[in-house]
């Protein structure tokens, strides 16, 4: 008998959520006023949850480490948000959105959760429009849609390249309304540093006031973690500098199982590293692959000449270029899914064909698209014998109207004009599908502690489709958690205010205070970033785009060593009772140093290739698919939920077997 009870309701898939909602115990409005809920994180999931819970009548305490809830990293999402509205009449439906998401996740997500996600997707768009979110519209005044990778319909709603920003500002405005009413107490520049359990239930947190350094005790009847993903374990990622796993890791150490940590999405189109000073990576939207062609030079002499600056990419003729995606995947070409495109870029660069100084970059070339659009526009304008210059000008104008803001962003960072010379791109860590294990109600394995948004594991399986992260964050926060949490809190109406003077709170605060003391007392010789970069290098090298047994074992040993060195030799200047960014970073890196090892262990135990997790031992050996990822549904169609046992290497795995009743499991092919 597994210790994991996913609490998936009975009945047909399409009725599960409706029936479940109808049977959930409710808390009457007068009692809601006596119940407190803590929400950690103010991105799409946390912000929308805090606002919705407060509207329902609960007293909410909301925490973020930033100076404003509006700055959570959901704000950086570019492309869009999916919803099964079928406004384009292309045959979309709840079932199709559900099916695409499960298939895109390489059949490693929980069917019932994904179906619910698809069911509420339409409500999200309605809600956001009612709040005044300015989505893109057509000239008839109705909402416009785009298409995204891995699907055959147009179901993505967008606000230019700033969809995440506009959705977050919508949730932020709803949150502000509740702050003004006194229903939400907002704690900006506060970081959760410990979970407090009383009689086995989550009853509060210890938070550090980042301006004064003081530790604070906060009690509540339930605690909701919405602190985002753990991509920064790689040091370099598209996450914000402050994005961290501390809240999620603290609850893991207090009994919440951590599921599928090895599932990471490595996005193929990011701006490459420019040197050792690099602090983070910037994403270029997936939409660019609609018109860009990816290539490296065919001949090594040309590669070397380009690196030395003796040759320009535009000097190479067509037959001197290797359009490797078009060569390897003629059916999908440059539009293969993210994981496939990323691995193909790595393969070429590992073979020595990378085109920049670091050897880690490939070209994304718009010259053909500019020509194609230019000729098309000239024909539309009925120009006779247009000159090459005229075609170029017309073509560039079309590209500018489609991708202008991205091209400008690229030019600001790289100082090259992507209209004239191909962009350089390389894959980067972008999103983590793994996270805290939750049941159907989004409760973790700690009673009364919930986890929503990117921080949990449930909806994206081994690979996330574009425009699905925003959908999940808002679904959890607006439409799922506010209902399911009532079922638990209905048993708490007689509990009354929870005291912060209990032994449990005192002890938790002392634990934190001792840990901070210990960090400050090391007074070593290396900065926090030094260790974070070492961790990132080990992760990228052995637990990055392709993994094998030998490398993963090495990674576990190396990370353990880095952790030991960190605790012996880190130097944290300044005072613990003041605004001290180095101390904040140290706490987060200490947690990453544990999470990284569990991550490698999870990858080691999953001896199959699926989605973002590619095991070199598990590839197709012959036929059309030779060399491609090989999934193993017989042995690995489960969720690996890890229980904390002290050292990450000692973590114990619990399996939640995945059942697919409504979907047939198929091999993905893009040849």
């Amino acid at each position: 008998m597994s210790v994991l009870d996913s609490k998936i309701p009975d009945g047909p898939l399409k009725d599960k959520w409706t029936n479940h909602k109808n049977k959930i115990d409710l808390v009457n409005p007068a009692n809601k006023r006596n119940i407190d809920i803590i929400v950690v994180g103010t991105g799409l999931a946390g912000g929308s949850a805090a606002a919705s819970l407060a509207e329902m009548g609960y007293n909410v305490k909301s925490f973020c480490y930033q100076d404003s809830p509006r700055r959570a990293h959901s704000i950086a999402a570019q492309g869009g948000i999916n919803a099964a509205k079928n406004y384009q009449n292309d045959g979309d439906s709840v079932y199709r959105l559900f099916y695409d998401t499960v298939k895109g996740g390489d059949y490693r997500s929980r069917e019932a959760n994904v179906h619910r996600l698809a069911e509420v997707s339409g409500n999200i768009i309605d809600q956001c429009v009612a709040q005044g979110v300015p989505f893109g519209r057509d000239y008839g005044g109705l909402l416009d849609n785009r298409s995204f990778g891995g699907v055959l319909v147009s179901r993505t709603f967008y606000a230019k390249g700033q969809t995440g920003q506009q959705l977050l500002l919508g949730a932020y405005s709803a949150l502000n309304r509740q702050i003004a009413k006194g229903k939400v107490t907002m704690y900006n520049r506060h970081e959760m540093v410990e979970l407090v359990k009383v009689n086995g239930k989550a009853r509060g947190i210890i938070a550090r006031n980042l301006e004064t350094g003081e530790l604070e005790r906060h009690s509540a009847h339930a605690v909701v973690i919405a602190s985002g993903g753990y991509g920064n374990v790689f040091f370099l990622s598209t996450n914000a500098m402050g994005s961290n796993a501390t809240a999620a890791w603290k609850i893991h150490k207090k009994g919440a199982h951590f599921a599928n940590p090895c599932y990471t999405q490595i996005h193929p189109t990011c701006i490459p590293r420019s040197g050792e000073h690099q602090s983070k990576l910037t994403l270029m939207s997936e939409s660019l692959r609609n018109d860009g062609r990816i290539w490296v030079p065919k001949n090594m002499e040309d590669v070397l000449a380009i690196r030395e600056g003796k040759l320009k990419p535009t000097d190479l003729s067509e037959d001197q270029r290797d359009y490797y995606l078009e060569r390897r995947y003629p059916a999908f070409g440059n539009l293969v899914p993210r994981d496939v495109a990323s691995r193909a870029a790595k393969e070429r660069c590992d073979a020595g064909f990378g085109v920049n100084e670091t050897g880690e970059a490939v070209y994304l070339d718009f010259a053909s698209a500019i020509q194609r659009y230019g000729k098309q526009e000239a024909a539309i304008a009925r120009m006779e014998n247009p000159s090459d210059e005229e075609i170029l000008k017309l073509g560039e104008a079309v590209i500018e109207s489609k991708y202008g803001n991205l091209f400008q962003m690229y030019e600001k960072i790289v100082a090259q004009d992507p209209y004239k010379t191909p962009m350089m791109i390389y894959p980067a860590v972008h999103y983590t599908m793994g996270g805290v294990w939750v049941d159907y109600n989004l409760m973790t394995s700690v009673e009364g502690c919930y986890c929503i948004g990117e921080a949990n594991f449930s909806d994206h399986g081994a690979n996330r489709l574009g425009a699905s992260a925003l959908m999940q964050g808002l679904a959890d926060g607006y439409f799922v958690l506010p209902y399911t949490i009532g079922d638990y809190l209905s048993n708490d109406i007689r509990t009354g205010k929870i005291s912060t003077d209990s032994a449990e709170f005192v002890e938790a605060e002392k634990e934190v205070s001792d840990r901070i003391e210990k960090l400050m007392d090391i007074k070593g010789t290396k900065s926090v970033d030094h260790f974070h970069k070492l961790l990132g290098k080990a992760m990228w090298e052995y637990v990055g785009m392709a993994r094998n047994e030998e490398g993963l074992k090495k990674a576990m040993a190396e990370i353990k060593q880095i952790r030991t060195d960190f605790w012996n030799d880190v130097r944290i200047p300044g005072d613990k009772y003041s605004l001290n960014p180095e101390l904040e970073k140290a706490g987060r890196v200490a947690d990453f140093l544990e999470l990284g090892e569990l991550f490698a262990k999870d990858a080691l135990y999953r001896n199959e290739s699926c989605g973002g997790h590619f095991r070199e031992e598990s590839v197709e050996l012959d036929g059309m698919q030779k060399g491609e990822a090989k999934r193993n549904d017989t042995d690995y169609a489960y969720v690996a939920a890890w229980e904390y046992k002290g050292e990450p290497a000692d973590a114990v795995m619990h399996k939640e077997e995945l059942e697919f009743k409504d979907i047939e499991l198929k091999q993905r092919s893009y040849k």
Binding site: E55, Q66, D67, S68, R70, R71, H73, I75, A76, Y87, N123, I125, D126, Q127, V129, A130, Q131, G132, P134, F135, G136, R137, G140, G141, L142, L143, Q162, Q165, Q166, S173, A174, N176, R177, A180, M186, N188, E211, A240, M241, G242, S274, G275, H277, S279, K280, T282, M409, K412, I413, V414, A415, F479, S527, D529, P573, G574, S578, L579, P581, E582
Partner: protein, 250 residues
């Protein structure tokens, strides 16, 4: 490149603060301005000096956290960028760079280069929303067509990242561009009409209460705004404010 940095250091809110001089060497022109500060801080840590505290997060120009006044300009010498998008190629080898926090009575310094922008929060809380609860029963999104022009105007206003460069650069420390952007977003949309009058009155009142100055139409805010928010929105807000002030409640 080698640089001399004159950086504002201030221990806490009460401290008087002052400029300190630091030297950095071997900075790549491809580094971003904040990566240059990372290098400086690493150096300070190794020397046993407390590193300089500065606000930053997404480092891709969208979260609005970074907020440096560089050589007398909000977000430095480049245009349409935040500090994190500013690159060292905008500077010359051997240059002396002055780095200060935003300066405004309504945004006091917390430490070094970090300021307290909670005044912006309180302005938003006073009316920057549409009063609609979460429910699965709001009307279908397409039941409310919005002319594309209005939708685009609302979007351009909504692009504000709340960084505070407009305040920092204004000789009056006015927050008019920031407030106007939020007021206008809702004023251009049908969803915002019901509460339009109260919204503009409340938000302007809160803005004044926080101690921000008035607008004298110099247009500096528009020039320094990383998202190119137009001062036409200030005119829109003034119109909204006037009509709300001199018409009856209903």
């Amino acid at each position: 490149m080698d640089l001399t940095l004159k950086v504002w250091r201030q221990k806490n809110r009460e401290d008087k603060g002052g400029l300190e001089t630091y030297k950095v060497t071997g900075i790549s022109e491809h580094a971003s301005f904040l990566e240059m500060l990372d290098v400086m801080n690493e150096q300070l840590i190794m020397e046993g000096t407390e590193p300089v505290a500065f606000d930053h997060d997404c480092r891709e120009g969208i979260c609005g956290t970074c907020s440096l006044y560089i050589n007398g300009e909000a977000h430095g010498p480049d245009r349409k960028v935040t500090t994190c998008q500013l690159h060292m190629r905008m500077f010359k080898d051997g240059e002396t760079i002055y780095i200060e926090p935003w300066r405004s009575a309504a945004m006091p310094v917390i430490k070094d280069l970090i300021v307290d922008r909670s005044s912006f929060e309180r302005i938003q809380q006073s009316g920057g929303f549409v009063s609609v609860n979460t429910s699965g029963n709001t009307q279908d999104a397409n039941a409310l067509p919005i002319p594309k022009m209005n939708a685009d105007l609302a979007f351009d206003a909504a692009a504000c990242i709340g960084c505070g460069a407009c305040v920092a650069t204004c000789k009056n420390s006015s927050a008019m561009l920031f407030v106007a952007a939020k007021v206008s977003q809702f004023a251009y949309l049908p969803q915002g009409q019901v509460e339009a009058k109260q919204r503009v009155l409340n938000m302007v009142e809160q803005m004044d209460k926080e101690g921000f100055g008035n607008c004298t139409n110099t247009g500096a805010c528009e020039v320094e705004c990383p998202k190119s928010i137009s001062i036409e929105y200030i005119a829109k807000m003034n119109r909204e404010y006037l009509s709300a002030s001199c018409s009856s409640e209903s």
